[in-house]
Symmetry: C2
Subunit: 256 residues, 2 copies
DNA sequence: CGCGCATTTGAGGACTGTCAACTTCCGTGG
DNA sequence: CCACGGAAGTTGACAGTCCTCAAATGCGCG
């Protein structure tokens, strides 16, 4: 691993409080690897030998059953992948695919587990990461079970706005069919949901969305801090790092 | 806390590897409390001061939005509640309600976090619990997004059978409307899904369900080890502790 | 026995998925 | 520079799934 990579890795939340010697243990045998867009990093059911840390690019986690598949989450830097499977030393439940060219740190699972055993602060950092991920999926689940597709889209757009400049124009980060699957609908219905949001001042042109009536959109969306991981308090916009992380993967909470 | 309680707590997976002095730290200020059925233990959005460990009875975790609510999971002994919120020292995302008379161990959140800082083995146990919970929700999410309601019910019944004696008669653990919400449908549609499963040899009488054609049921259900947390390999029945835990909360994985 | 509650059944409508045709966008190559 | 091909996105028609409301049935307990 190059020195510049080591510096970057050292900054990761998961390594923030770790003692230098433990950091060396954890990153022993680690290496940074680059992947082109569209690469399958791992298939669901695969045994997991490495912890992946996404440093650059976007990665999609998806699940498959009976010839259907669904995007479970989309990760953006800096995020860990399959940490839960590494901790339990078991098979992955989701497949991972790069959506863009990616730069990924790969750390042997053994090294992670050893470092956890040696350093309680590292083990706590892992716990916080996992706790955030858990709460992210729970938010996602509430979103899916309690809202219909148009409401999910409306909230997604409001979240996009919150992490952006808070202006009335937002850019979609993903292809529409990927977004549709992430939001639990078909591409066709995503189109129709966008059309339905016209009456709330939503206009779409390619990946650029204009929100000209936030009040109407919020009235339909009814954002909720216990589902949407940004802080929509009193109409004030809070575009903090939490929200950035939320949007990127639609559901991981930042520790602390 | 009574001596008999301490012995029981000592057996919990989360305390298995913990040094005696750390165990005392963790359980300092802890106490066992009994609650009648139907008690709201906490409301979503509440700050979390205690880790709850369910020792007896059933607890439902549910979420609410816009006058709707949905059962997210149902816990049976021995399970931790809101461990993620305790680790992050933040508000609960779900409400908790007892479904029966319950016996619950309450441990101050501070004590948990202190014990994690002092003992890497305890922190690892917390990580494993969280990792299992995370994977449980992921399974749940795949179940909801990839299957329709009848398929979810069919798989639920097969899972019930797998944890029971493997015979053709299973007992439902919950009221049907609770089960319906857990499976992401209305009570009316649960009835209709049961009716639809008649042709697969499913007969219902109150809480007793007879499965007289497992092959047909499996053909419809298409159980998958990456969604359903029991091991349906080659028609062999594996009623292990993992599966018990799965059913109880419909989605927590047992560490290791 | 009768009341209250859970469950079931039916009818209708809302939401969502599927299929097919069409349009738009974009990169390639003539 | 423009034509072309392919993929992505949109639209319409239709069907399947699911929800809502209302009424009927069944069950348990006082």
């Amino acid at each position: 691993m190059r020195a510049s990579d080591i510096d970057r890795v050292r900054e990761l939340p998961i390594f923030a409080d770790v003692a230098p010697e433990i950091f060396r243990v954890a990153t022993a045998g680690a290496h940074v690897q680059r992947f082109p867009a569209g690469t399958m990093l791992l298939l669901e059911g695969d045994p997991v030998d490495f912890l992946y840390v996404l440093l650059e690019g976007q990665v999609e986690l998806h699940g498959t059953w009976n010839d259907h598949d669904t995007v479970m989450t989309i990760l953006r830097p800096v995020s860990t992948l399959i940490l839960a499977a590494v901790v339990l030393d078991t098979a992955a439940l989701m497949s991972a695919r790069t959506l863009e060219r990616c730069e990924i740190l790969m750390i042997p699972g053994d090294a992670i587990r050893t470092a956890m055993r040696l350093d309680s602060h590292f083990a706590m950092a892992v716990s916080r990461d996992l706790a955030g991920s858990y709460r992210g999926v729970v938010r996602n689940m509430k979103n899916i079970k309690l809202r219909n597709s148009t409401e999910r889209l409306a909230n997604y757009l409001l979240a996009l706005r919150a992490v952006g400049d808070g202006g009335s124009i937002v850019r979609l980060h993903h292809e529409k069919r990927v977004l549709a699957s992430l939001l639990g609908m078909t591409p066709e219905n995503l189109s129709r949901s966008f059309a339905a949001l016209n009456k709330c001042g939503v206009a779409v042109q390619g990946s650029v969305v204009t929100l000209s009536n936030i009040a109407a959109l919020e009235h339909l969306a009814k954002p909720d801090p216990l589902i949407d991981n940004y802080a929509p308090r009193g109409g004030e916009i809070v575009g903090d790092a939490d929200a950035e992380i939320w949007l990127s993967e639609h559901g991981r909470e930042k520790p602390r």
